[in-house]
Amino acid sequence: MIDWLAFVVVAGASLISSALIVTLYSLGLRLMTSAGRSPVVGPAEFTGAITVLTPKRAAKEAKRTRKALAANPLTDDQKKLALVGAYACFALCVGAVLFGVYLIVPALHGG
């Protein structure tokens, strides 16, 4: 009576989808940074911390980030490639989310 398979499905589905989405987005961020366009306006050293920045401080941090990114070992072509890769990753990430929602809503696929 207890459908153990359903739990396996839930575990598998959430693991695969979360891992995929998180990896794609992280990869996008990394490529973005490699391309010299850090998507962040934020502190370069404590990137993770929860801080609600004041606009003044954010501007200061942005300047610092730009400075840190100025020294880039990649060539221009490599940078361009990295940027394209980053956008591709973000696009795939959004696609994965939309596909997940599509699978869940029965109205969208006539089931």
Partner: protein, 398 residues
């Protein structure tokens, strides 16, 4: 039968109030982190959460069917549960919810609802009226397994997020970019919340309509039921948001953007997958599980077992405790109209008393941001050393 109609209207109203409080209670689950990290402006975040809860409620009806069609058995001449008993179950659930809220106990409004309904059914009809297989398969087991699943998933996702965006010394790692991702991941959590929690109320209302003969056994929720539940939870979410805004900046768990994104993605994925299969989860428990899991995925984390035990105890207590409240209310309701009136009076007194007590400055932000925040404290994280590790320094030298 005007009397029957009155009680049905009463149950529907009570169910919608329960739905409202559910949304009110759970806005923090989805939206506290993006507001805290500055990813979203509070007003926008609350509005988005409300709208997505509304949309989410329309997406699926599996969970509602679990409640209206599976949990309570049908007798030989149709369904045995009466609207009066559902009414009693709801009173039990609401009262238990308020008590745990006041005492700062972690609990789950979903389990309170199931507990209340089961308790009321057992008293009103008997032990044989509850389908224990369904309760076990779709309520109790998911309650135990889902937080574990989501914890493991969040742990792996956090590890992945940090591994992929490894820090190169002297260069920004782009991890702050997870703030933007959190806008979407927390929106997904709000959507998932709508798909699971709004449906619990739909299930209860549908069960009432079936029990009173307005709807045939085995059918899903009517459109107006879906719409009104969606609206109630959305309004609740919107109202609850203002409370978060007021308490912002007063000691929220330290959740970093990368971690928050991983946790929210795992939460949303697990809840959506479960809603799809008709598991009636507690969204709060899933969110707590993922916060703990993702906390463990960070470097330098240790578990505070005492805190974890406190949370687990609250979870275990909810179902039976709400069951006892529901059973008590059902005992009164069986006395007939007088009992129902008594139920309403006692319920109102408890609600008013709790409201009054909460006004007398005993409520801290601990009560307001509640369970997820507790879960965050289960994991202790030592500050990451600011100095780069030896191997990283070497890399720079090269």
């Amino acid at each position: 039968m005007p009397e029957l109609t009155l009680i049905v209207v009463l149950v529907i109203a009570l169910a919608l109030i329960f739905d409202f409080t559910n949304g009110f209670h759970d806005t923090a689950n989805a939206m506290a982190t993006p507001i805290a990290t500055g990813a979203m402006k509070p007003k926008v975040a609350v509005m988005v959460a409300a709208v997505l809860n509304l949309i989410g409620a329309f997406l699926s009806t599996e969970v509602a069917r679990t409640i209206s069609g599976g949990m309570i058995k049908e007798g030989e001449d149709g369904i045995l549960i009466t609207p009066e008993l559902i009414f009693a179950g709801l009173i039990g659930a609401i009262v238990w919810n308020l008590i745990t809220w006041l005492r700062g106990l972690p609990s789950s409004s979903s389990h309170a609802l199931f507990g209340g309904l089961i308790g009321a059914t057992v008293i009103g009809v008997g032990f044989q009226a509850v389908d224990y297989d369904v309760v076990m398969a779709k309520v109790i087991l998911p309650a135990i397994i889902a937080p574990i699943i989501v914890g493991v998933v969040a742990f792996i996702a956090t590890r992945l997020a940090y591994a992929v965006t490894r820090r190169e010394v002297g260069r920004p790692d782009g991890r702050g970019g997870f703030r933007y991702a959190q806008v979407f991941s927390s929106s997904l959590v709000a959507l998932a919340h709508g798909t699971n929690d709004a449906q619990k109320t739909m299930g209860v209302i549908t069960l009432t309509l079936i029990a009173s003969g307005y709807q045939t056994v085995g059918t899903g929720p009517e459109f107006w039921v879906i719409a009104s539940c969606a609206l109630a939870i959305a309004i609740g979410t919107y109202t609850g948001g203002w409370r978060i805004i007021q308490t912002m900046g007063r000691g929220l768990t330290d959740v970093k953007p990368a971690q928050g994104f991983a946790a929210e993605t795992s939460t949303a994925a697990t809840i959506l997958a479960s809603s799809h299969l008709g598991f009636a989860l507690s969204t709060t428990q899933v969110a707590s599980g993922s916060v703990i899991g993702s906390g463990l995925g960070r470097r330098g984390s240790t578990v505070r077992w005492g805190m974890a035990g406190h949370i687990a105890l609250g979870w275990v207590l909810t179902l039976p405790a709400a069951g006892i409240m529901g059973a008590f209310a059902a005992g009164l309701a069986l006395l007939g109209p007088v009992g129902i009136v008594l139920d309403v009076i006692i319920g109102s007194i408890v609600v008013a008393g709790i409201y009054w007590w909460s006004r007398s400055s005993r409520v801290t932000h601990h009560h307001l941001l509640h369970d997820i925040d507790d879960a965050g404290h289960v994991v202790r994280i030592t500050k990451t050393p600011r100095k780069p590790a030896r191997r990283d320094r070497k890399k720079v030298a090269l």
